[in-house]
Structure formats: C-alpha cells, structure tokens
C-alpha cells in the first residue's frame, strides 16, 4: 500500500497505524500520529486502519523554547 508519511511517499505492508510504526522502526515513547489531518489516539493505534493514499504524520518532541 502506498502512503504519504511525513511528506514522503512510501510503500508499506502495514494495515494499521500501530503496524506502520513497527514497520518504520519507530518506538519512541512519545509519538503522536495524525492521519488525514485528524489525530489518532494512542489507544487506537492498533485498530486504526490505513488505506491507500492516506496522509500520515508521525511527530515527537524535540528541543524547543
């Protein structure tokens, strides 16, 4: 399935947000995910189904003032 993740088109096998994070090797303690501009709650990562062409943003905390 083709997704746009953080501005880049990627090809992935994952069908859910949780599986996508595993596939991308992202295991940071504090990530947030947005699919098509809507925030996905952490507890829904495992069940939130992705579909072809979804725009996904994966963010975490960086240093800031």
């Amino acid at each position: 399935m083709r997704l746009k993740v953080n501005g880049e088109f990627i090809e992935c096998r994952a069908g859910t947000v949780g599986a996508l994070l595993v596939e991308l090797g992202i295991s940071a303690p504090a990530v947030a995910v947005e699919v098509n501009l809507a925030v996905v709650r952490k507890q829904d990562f495992g069940s939130f189904a992705l579909k072809e062409g979804d725009q996904v943003e994966v963010v975490n905390f960086v240093g800031g003032g």
Binding site: V5, N6, A28, V33, V39, N60, F61, G63, G64, G65
Partner: protein, 261 residues
Amino acid sequence: MGRDGTDDKLIIKGIEFSSRLWVGTGKYRSNEEMAMALEASGTDVVTVSVRRVDLGRVAGSLLNHIDLKKMKILPNTAGCYTVEDALRYARLGREAGLSDMVKLEVIGDEKTLFPDVIGLLEATEILAKEGFIVFPYTNDDPIMAKRLVDAGAACVMPLGAPIGSGLGIRNPYNIKIILETVKIPVVVDAGVGTASDAAIAMELGCDAVLINTGIAGASDAVAMASAMKHAVMAGRLSYRAGRIPKKLYATASSPLEGMLL
C-alpha cells in the same frame, strides 16, 4: 513568610510547580549539556516542540534525556503562524505527551517573532474549550492579557523582549500593569538574557520566568542555569519581602543621637 520559598508554591489549574524558573530545551550544544543545565536550574517544567520524526534515521528521543519523574513537559506551538497550525500542533502535542498543558504561540512574523495576538486569542478560546490548559505567549499588553483571561487562558506569558534577543524586560511598567490587571499567574516568556533580567521580572511580582536562549546560548549554559535559578529565587524573595520605597534624597542609616558636638 518562609525564607526559603518552600511555602510559596505556584499552582496553576491544580498543577503544582515547585520551581518558578521554567526552562526551554532548544539550542543546547548537546543533550548532555541540556540535561546538566536542567539539573542546575532546579526546574520542574520544560518546554518542548512538536516536530516530524525523521524517518531516515533512528534518533534518540529528547525525552530520554529528561527526568520525567521530576519534570512536567510543556509542549509549545512554536513555528505556527496561523490559528489552524497552532491548533494542530497543540492537539498533536497533547497526544504525544501526558498533559493538557500547552504553551500556545501564534507567531506574527519571522523577523520579530512577535505574537499575532488576534490569532492567539482565537486559538486560546478554542483550545480552552477543548479542555487544554492554555499558556499563551503574548505581548506586554495589559488589555490583551485581559482578553486572554476571558478567552480561558490559565496564565499569561507576556514577552520581556523578542524571543532570543536577550534584551531583558523592556517594558517593566506594562508588565506591572498586567500583574495588576489579571488575577491569573503571569509568566515572563522571552527576552531574559542574564540573571538580573530574571530578577527584575520576579521583583515586579511575576509568578515565574521561562528562559531558553538565555541559558542555552550562554558560554557556559550549566553555570548560567544555576545563575538564573538563584536570580529567580532572589527576585521572588525580594518581591515578597517588600522593598523600600525609592527616594531622591538620603536618609541616614546611623543615628544622629550621641554624636560628638
């Protein structure tokens, strides 16, 4: 009044802050330096920004370098120039973090980084209704501070001077008026360049000071963190102790009685 400040806790919406010095986590030379500076500052609240995870490389999480048992994480919306962006970053920050607190920035232009207060007011109202504890970064404008209170802000964060400028508290009189205008806590955010700036903010009666560049940009960030800690404590204690009034002419400290004729 306790002399060590332990009876002087800052509480905002039921959240207790043991330190009146809040510290940003940007611009340090390394995560190790940041961790040492945070320790030296004695702070228990740090600001962070929300940014894309870099898919190309496995980076260590910033949070691995922050003692989460001690520190409260305050996500900001830095870099947001529209209400929509600020709302988006605030919601992501809440989901990534563990609290409803947000340091809300809606920036007006790149050169000054002054807040776009019209957008800020709108975003404050929306986020407060969504249950956020909103700490808006605002101008040193007492009327806007009042409007932010009405919009549901939990505290107001007027700038001392432009972000990263180190110019200190450029308009202490306006800060003083803000303090007399609003009943919620006032936290000076931005502009503090050296310890005396922090002390001045606290002597005015501000409830806390947020510093990032003033610490991270110092030649010795860890030493400056310690200096800021002491300045904030000294300024707060001085405010509570009640300074003497300023007078134009001298008043003798030593008695005139008993002097030789």
